[in-house]
């Protein structure tokens, strides 16, 4: 059996999608399947690291270190894409967007491992995007730590990908930069959500697609689970320093200082743990349950090793 690493796998998906989309004509997407191979990670799949305290930067580092350190994932010269939640024109204290200190620390750790290029990117919802990047604090945090910080605003920033296992969607789009990356780190914030009850790691991947409305018109939770079958981050770092309890996803609403950062490879396990922060179980959140059923990961935390640090 041939094993593909993340970039090869995503490149192949994009290539297949591009080939179908363009009727078999030669395309850039098809060429992306020929990207050079890179090494694979690895942290233990069934382990979550949960760091608790009050310093968001320190917690982020502690969580990653507890998994084995960023140098297990990022190698010299790598192209790393970090995908926080930067959807909304809200300052960090609202809890609608990822804490900029978390983003900054992720970038710093990647830089220390010799990453060649680090890109912080999201499909920003509010406008103007430059203002969103500024108000959320993520532009400053990312840049100061050594990353490029970009808002994807054009359809040309996305490539089509096929979702072979998809039940609600058989194809969609993905940020091209994610498909090109050696390492993809998902950095969501934990918050409530009007349509999906909670938004954690897998829901944050909705910011990788171009047409969000198409999911809202469809079975949203199933779309999230479908997408998680093909876009699998190398690492999910869930910001739960301050969680938004009401008024999500944009807020403002009631927030709670939880003081946690959760890191893991299994996106379902991370989300399952995240649901517990809201005194819910993974079973209460349809897309977590659906993703578990589709084999994306483990939602039963009794089967997951949790390292509390």
């Amino acid at each position: 059996m041939i094993k593909l690493d993340r970039r090869e796998f995503l490149g192949a998906i994009a290539g297949l999608g591009g080939a179908l989309f363009l009727g078999g004509c030669g395309s850039r997407e098809t060429q992306s399947a020929e990207l050079p191979a890179t090494r694979t990670t690895k942290y233990a799949d069934n382990t979550l690291a949960v760091a608790s305290g009050s310093d968001a930067s320190a917690l982020t580092r502690k969580a990653v270190d507890a998994l084995g350190g960023m140098d297990k994932l990022v190698k010299s010269g790598d192209f790393v894409v970090v995908k926080p939640n930067i959807a909304w024109n809200q300052p960090p204290e609202v809890g609608a967007t990822t804490n900029p200190e978390v983003v900054g620390e992720i970038v710093r750790m990647c830089k220390e491992c010799g990453a060649g290029r680090i890109l912080v990117i999201d499909h920003v919802i509010d406008r103007p995007a430059e203002m969103v990047l500024g108000l959320t604090g993520i532009m400053a945090a990312g840049k100061n730590a050594g990353a490029e910080v970009v808002a994807a605003q054009n359809e040309s920033d996305f490539s089509r990908v096929e979702i072979a296992q998809g039940r609600a969607i058989k194809s969609d789009t993905c940020l091209k930069e994610i498909l090109k990356a050696d390492v993809f780190i998902n950095a969501p914030i934990a918050k409530t959500h009007g349509a999906t009850t909670l938004t954690l790691g897998m829901k944050n991947l909705m910011g990788c697609i171009w047409d969000r409305q198409s999911w809202h018109r469809s079975k949203l939770d199933q779309c999230i689970a479908d997408y998680a079958t093909i876009i699998r981050p190398d690492l999910t770092i869930l910001d739960a320093n301050r969680i938004l309890l009401t008024g999500g996803p944009k807020g403002p609403g009631k927030t709670k200082a939880v003081g946690k950062v959760i890191a893991g490879v299994d996106p379902v396990a991370v989300d399952s743990y995240g649901a517990g922060l809201f005194e819910m179980s993974a079973d209460d959140i349809s897309h977590i349950r659906l993703a578990h059923e589709m084999g994306v990961g483990e939602m039963d935390l009794a089967k997951v090793t949790i390292k509390n640090v």
Binding site: G23, P91, E93, R127, G194, T246, P249
Partner: protein, 176 residues
């Protein structure tokens, strides 16, 4: 790319161009709610930021609120339009919602007042509403069957007054 593929691509481009021309010639008029948005300098020095106009009706209210849209539609929002304004480094965002009734507009303001742990009150010349300053400045108003919010992204000392000025500009357009 071989000749056959080039011909297919050229054909697709021609069809797309013709379709686009046809669509442009039959462009729908701007929705009524869009005409209620303040214009350039309705509030001293504030100009419309290009490409920040967003409109949604029904499920497309999600274009403005993403996954939070159902809260709005369930509470009577029929359609919504949002636009950003700028004066040097100061930004304000005005969102106008058409509600299914005057009562729905008033109820929704009171819903938000409860969420923000404050109370709404009658505001002369505007309607009913309230403002909060934390975590950022935001004002909520019911004006007849419209529910209007104004968010300001600059210091409260100056911006609270100006959110009311934006609301007044909307009110004038409703009356017109």
């Amino acid at each position: 790319m071989n000749m056959k593929c080039r011909m297919i691509a050229l054909g697709m481009l021609i069809v797309a161009a013709l379709t686009g021309l046809g669509a442009a010639s039959m462009a729908a008029p701007a929705p009524a709610v869009q005409k209620l948005l303040p214009g350039n300098n309705d509030v001293a020095g504030f100009k419309i930021v290009a490409k920040t106009l967003t409109y949604g009706k029904g499920v497309d209210v999600s274009k403005v609120y993403n996954g939070g849209y159902e809260l709005y539609t369930k509470n009577g929002v029929v359609d919504v339009v949002k636009q950003m304004y700028q004066r040097e480094s100061e930004y304000a965002e005005v969102t106008v919602h058409t509600m299914k009734s005057t009562k729905a507009a008033l109820d929704f303001v009171n819903y938000w007042a409860k969420q923000r742990e404050t109370k709404s009150a009658a505001i002369a010349g505007i309607g009913t509403g309230f403002s909060v300053t934390k975590p950022s400045v935001m004002s909520y108003y019911a004006m007849g069957k419209y529910f209007v919010t104004v968010s300001a992204y600059y210091p409260a000392e100056k911006s609270v007054k100006e959110t009311a000025a934006f609301a007044t500009a909307v009110k004038k357009r409703i009356k017109a």
